[in-house]
Homo-oligomer: 136 residues x 2
């Protein structure tokens, strides 16, 4: 359970003003047992459900982008009509159930080390992500 004060601290440390909306979004995103996957729309609805506060869709977009930029959220590379984000920013991979449009975490240990034996001059590797598509 992360306190409001902690969120305020963290936001300040990231030079993001701790607005009511941002604190609320933090609470929805990071006060959970497990990390989770969401779309902008998911998050918009989750925030809307709360009685205390609401945030406009534009704010959800702004905040998610700000958090992503700061490294508090990870974008999951899949082709979908909506962009998926992940509160698990550690190095890991995903299953994607194409039929149900559902993402499932895949731990690094469940994939084993991936050794990229090719390099591109002048470029370095930023991330290595595995996407495993599932079917019935």
């Amino acid at each position: 359970m992360i306190s409001k004060t902690e969120f305020i601290q963290k936001l300040r440390n990231s030079s993001l003003r701790p607005t009511k909306q941002r604190i609320d979004i933090c609470d929805v995103l990071f006060n959970r047992e497990k990390t989770f996957h969401f779309t902008i729309n998911d998050l918009f609805n989750l925030v809307k459900e709360r009685k205390d506060q609401k945030a406009s869709l534009a704010t959800i977009y702004n905040t998610v982008h700000a958090f992503h930029k700061k490294g508090y959220l990870k974008e999951i590379p899949i082709n979908s009509n909506q962009t998926y984000f992940d509160t698990n920013v550690t190095d890991h991979h995903h299953f994607f159930d194409v039929k149900e449009e559902r993402l499932i975490d895949l731990k690094n240990e469940d994939v084993g080390p991936i050794d990229i034996q090719k390099s591109i001059p002048g470029k370095k590797i930023k991330s290595v992500e595995v996407l495993v598509k599932l079917e019935d």
Copy 2:
């Protein structure tokens, strides 16, 4: 160099009528030394450049979807404003240069075997794709 007749054959075998537009798109897509990555817009422009024939944007969409469904094109899982396709339908992976928005093939051999040590009940693996993001 693949002949028009061959394209017509292949289209017929796939129960796709060999229209002028489809044959032209085949020529643009498959009559090349190397496989390549493209967006709908790229393809639209490539077809437009040709003097002999032009195809509407809707036809480009229709055809790409049809070819994808038949397994002649592969969709590359990345988050971009546009969807990328690949004429290389063999099992392989990609580098994505985020800055230049450029895709580069990564052979299976350059990645080594990927062993997914987790399974989801009732589901089987359809594909395993690695995306390596590059930065400067």
